[in-house]
């Protein structure tokens, strides 16, 4: 323990200099704590979530917003784009996301207990239902779309498939927007100061990062069309505004985890990659690089926000400071 090492140092100092000046010894704030708090112990508990959760935030946002792009493109007869977008939505939202979420559970075999109750006051419960509803829309939507494009069934049944595909794709777009944004509510409505102080920013950031990532990935897959470029611009502009908002709306010690430490750097790098950098790259026509920058930035900032939660939750002073707001 560090405190034992400190004690050894003090003994050595006392031996050499014939005494240690000052009353009380500040060993990590003790024995007489000089800072507010109990020996620097955390007041709230930091999140126990590991790498699966930020990765889930990334894939959930990507998949959810892909479904939005799919429904937009199918309305305006970009069937090829809609198919690719639905493949991304289905693999991200119905395969990768549930697997990541189940992996993060302390008791993965009990994952179905998530659907035991419906609690609108629990963002985690709402998220479980949103993800289930998204999966229930996106998988049949993709199957119907593929069957219809390949004209597997001729005649009346194909007309039925066409309508079913439309309804399911529209449904997955609705649940997709919620899937991409609820994660901001999930961490915004907690007792972690740096999170709840930015509870309005978080859903906007997570949702927009999802939309920009979906557009960027589709562009990287070869769909270089003006509509996706517009969505890329839109997301980059919103992210730039959020970066400015985040640097103006500071709360001192209460949310210092966002502006200091390694977590602060993750947030900053993430926001610059998704905001100003991808905006500039897009402006100069470097669309693929802008797309890569945005995807990377939204991944980094998801990890950044979880890191912020860990640091802010372990910092007693940030809890005391936040309660003054």
């Amino acid at each position: 323990m560090t405190s034992e090492k400190r004690l050894e140092e003090l003994r050595e100092q006392a031996w050499k200099e014939g005494g240690v000046p000052g009353k009380g010894v500040d060993v990590a704030g003790g024995p007489i704590p000089r800072k507010p708090g109990y020996y620097g112990q955390a007041v709230v508990k930091p999140p126990v979530w590991t790498w699966e959760i930020p990765l889930y935030f990334f894939f959930g946002g990507l998949a959810g917003m892909s479904a939005v792009i799919a429904s937009g493109s199918i309305l305006f007869h970009h069937v090829d784009l809609a198919r690719v977008a639905m493949w991304i939505a289905a693999s991200g939202g119905a395969v990768i996301s549930p697997v990541l979420l189940i992996m993060d559970l302390g008791r993965p075999h009990l994952f179905l207990n998530m659907l035991r109750v419906f609690k609108h006051r629990s963002a985690m419960s709402m998220g479980a239902w949103i993800l289930s509803a998204f999966g229930a829309c996106v998988v049949p939507g993709l199957i119907a779309l593929e069957l219809h494009t390949h004209q597997i069934f001729p005649g009346l049944f194909d007309q039925f498939l066409r309508i079913a595909a439309g309804i399911f794709i529209f449904g997955s777009a609705i649940f997709g927007t919620l899937l991409a944004t609820y994660t901001g509510v999930l961490i915004g409505a907690t007792a972690i100061p740096a999170w709840f102080l930015h509870r309005t920013l978080l859903p906007i950031h997570f949702g927009t990062a999802g939309l920009g990532s979906a557009a960027g990935l589709l562009e990287l897959l070869g769909h270089r069309i003006a509509a996706l470029n517009f969505l890329g611009y839109y997301a980059a502009v919103v992210e730039t505004v959020l970066l400015i908002w985040l640097s103006i709306n500071k709360h001192g010690a209460a949310d210092r985890a966002i502006h200091e430490h390694g977590s602060g750097w993750l947030i900053r790098i993430g926001e610059i990659l998704t905001g100003p950098l991808s905006l500039v790259l897009r402006f100069f026509g470097l669309v693929p690089i802008a797309a890569i920058s945005f995807l990377l930035g939204s991944l980094v900032s998801r990890f950044g926000w979880i890191a912020v939660g860990k640091i802010s939750g372990s910092d007693p002073e940030s809890v005391f400071a936040a309660e003054r707001y």
Binding site: M1, S3, E4, R6, A28, G30, P31, I32, P33, G37, Y38, Y39, A42, K45, P46, P47, V48, W49, V68, S71, F76, L105, R107, L110, R116, V117, K119, S122, A123, M124, S125, A173, T177, L178, A180, Y182, G184, V185, L186, G188, A189, T190, A191, W195, F196, R199, I204, G207, T208, L211, I225, L228, N229, F230, Y234, G313, P316, V319, F320, E323
Partner: protein, 288 residues
Amino acid sequence: MIGEGIKSTNQRKHSYVQDRVEVGFFTDPSVCIGCKACEVACKEWNQVPDDGFTWSGNSYDNTGHLGASTWRHVMFLEQDRHKGNQVAGPMSLGDGEDPFRWVFLSDVCKHCEEAGCLEACPTGSIVRTEVGSVLVQNDVCNGCGYCVVSCPFGVIDRRPEPLPDAGGAFKCTFCYDRQKSGLVPACAKVCPTESIVFGRLDDLRARGAERVQQLQQSGYSDAQLYDPTETSVRGIHAFFLILGEPEAYGLPPKPQVPTIYLKSAWTAAFATAIASIIAALAAFAFFS
């Protein structure tokens, strides 16, 4: 009370669960001797595993904090302040005034009136019992970890590997099993100075107010009750008498139940959802 023998609410049998009476803990550091019998009794009765044997160097507290395997935690506060009318004696270091006091307080789950963990739990594993306490049903919990970040007091935690029953969330059960059989929670039963008092919540609140008055009259000018009834937590079932500021005990001065943040967060989420749909439709309508 001490001297009442088996008639003390800490010792006599009761039927609070059957009668659906709200119960509570009143913990009074002014009579606590820091023996940690409550920690031991809790671990023994509830068969809570040990959570490591590390030396913290923070006074006599090697327990650290409440957690998945620590449901009672005796805090040892060393403060350079007077304890009541205490006079610094000739053993005092330095010149003249060198006040010092040692305060012990047994911390526990607060069993909030509006409990963050209970609201957050997506499985319905955390429930409110007949006596008003908050209970984790361990066979239902799937270890999602959302209650951990939703507790404004940092009480509940997920138990790590390789401890028994790892992966689930754990906290004080208010000895619900004992209470169902008319027994008193283990920590209160064993407390030798009745620093932890168990009983009807309304009785305890009256008793706490009386004790604060008594202490203030005898020179403990900084004695106060810690029971955040003014915040969205709306009061706690396990409340404390504290000397000095709540911050020194690692207690949040104005704890809030995180559900109060839901409205603004969901508003932002819905606004973003609608804006994204409009942006996607506009993109394809105007740029293709």
